[in-house]
C-alpha cells in the first residue's frame, strides 16, 4: 500500500470521526479541491464543505469499491450512504431535511506531494442524489 493511498484513507477517517482539525495534517495549505459546482483551496475551505456534509448527512459513510494507485497519485470508486436529517447547503440553495436515505457513487482522484494531498477531484452525478431526495429541479421548457 502506497503513501498516496494512506493519505486518502487518513482524510476519510478524519471525515468519518469528525476530528476536522486534523485535516491540516493531510491537506496541503494550497491544495486544490473540486467537485460538481464547487472549487476550493486549502484545508480551511475544505473543512467548511465537509462540516456541511456532516450536518446534512450525520451518518454519512464511504465504502471504497475499487482503487488504483501509481506514484503519488491515487483514485478510488466509492459508494456513499447517508440519511438526510440536517439542512443541506447546495450551490442552488438550502434543502431542508427530507429524512431520506441516499446512496450514490463517486470517484475521487487524488494527487500527493511531500506527504500531503495537493489536489483532490471528486466526480459524481448530482441528479442521482437530487432524484433520491425528491428535489430534482423541473427541466426548463425546451
Amino acid at each position: 500500500m502506497g503513501k498516496a493511498r494512506d493519505l486518502a484513507e487518513r482524510a476519510m477517517d478524519i471525515f468519518h470521526q469528525g476530528d476536522l482539525d486534523e485535516l491540516e495534517d493531510v491537506i496541503a495549505w494550497d491544495a486544490e479541491f473540486t467537485m460538481p459546482g464547487v472549487a476550493l483551496k486549502g484545508p480551511a475551505q475544505l473543512r467548511q464543505l465537509l462540516e456541511g456534509y456532516r450536518t446534512a448527512f450525520p451518518d454519512m459513510h464511504h465504502t471504497p469499491t475499487n482503487t488504483v494507485e501509481s506514484g503519488g497519485r491515487f483514485a478510488w470508486e466509492l459508494e456513499l450512504v447517508g440519511t438526510h436529517t440536517g439542512p443541506m447547503v447546495t450551490p442552488a440553495g438550502e434543502i431542508a431535511p427530507t429524512g431520506r436515505k441516499v446512496v450514490w457513487q463517486s470517484v475521487d482522484v487524488i494527487d500527493t506531494a511531500d506527504g500531503k494531498i495537493t489536489s483532490w477531484h471528486v466526480y459524481f452525478d448530482q441528479v442521482t442524489v437530487m432524484a433520491q431526495l425528491g428535489v430534482l429541479p423541473q427541466p426548463a421548457s425546451a
Binding site: 475499487n66 501509481s70 457513487q105 482522484v109 477531484h121
Partner: protein, 140 residues
C-alpha cells in the same frame, strides 16, 4: 507511457475522427459499460450506438484525455467531453432538437483492460452540468 494510456489515446482519437469501427475495436466485444442517465450497457455494439448518438448530436464531439492513473490492468482517466449540439440528441424524455449550445463536460472513466482492450468501462460525470449547458436545467 503505459499501455492503457496508448489504448485510451487511440480510442479518443478514433472517436474524435468519427471512426466508430476503430473506436469499437478498442473494446472487448462483451465489454460492460455504465454511464449516468443511461445505466448499464452490455457489449461493444451498445456502447457504439450510444457513442454514435452523441456524435450525431455533436458532430464536433471530442474526448480529451486530461490525466491517467494506471495500476496493472486498471486505470482511472480524467477527461473532458467537448462539442456543440448542432444535431438532434436522443434522451430518456424524447429527442431534443438541435440547440447550438456548447458542451464542456468534465468526466472520469474507470476501466479494466483484458488482452489490450477495454473490458469494463464506467463513466462518471455530473448530469446537472450537462443539462445546464444544454439549456435543460436552470443555471444556478
Amino acid at each position: 507511457m503505459g499501455s492503457t494510456q496508448r489504448l485510451m489515446e487511440k480510442f479518443y482519437d478514433r472517436f474524435n475522427a468519427g471512426d466508430f469501427d476503430g473506436a469499437e475495436a478498442c473494446f472487448q466485444p462483451d465489454v460492460s459499460s455504465a454511464e449516468p442517465g443511461i445505466g448499464e450497457m452490455e457489449g461493444s455494439a451498445a456502447w457504439r450506438a450510444h457513442g454514435e448518438d452523441f456524435k450525431r448530436a455533436c458532430p464536433d464531439a471530442r474526448l480529451n484525455l486530461v490525466s491517467i492513473i494506471e495500476d496493472g490492468n486498471k486505470a482511472v482517466i480524467e477527461g473532458r467531453f467537448t462539442g456543440t449540439q448542432t444535431g438532434p440528441l436522443a434522451s430518456p424524455n424524447g429527442e431534443l432538437p438541435p440547440s447550438g449550445r456548447k458542451i464542456d463536460l468534465p468526466f472520469v472513466e474507470v476501466n479494466e483492460t483484458v488482452d489490450g482492450r477495454i473490458a469494463t468501462h464506467r463513466i462518471y460525470y455530473d448530469q446537472v452540468v450537462l443539462l445546464t449547458q444544454l439549456g435543460l436545467m436552470p443555471a444556478e
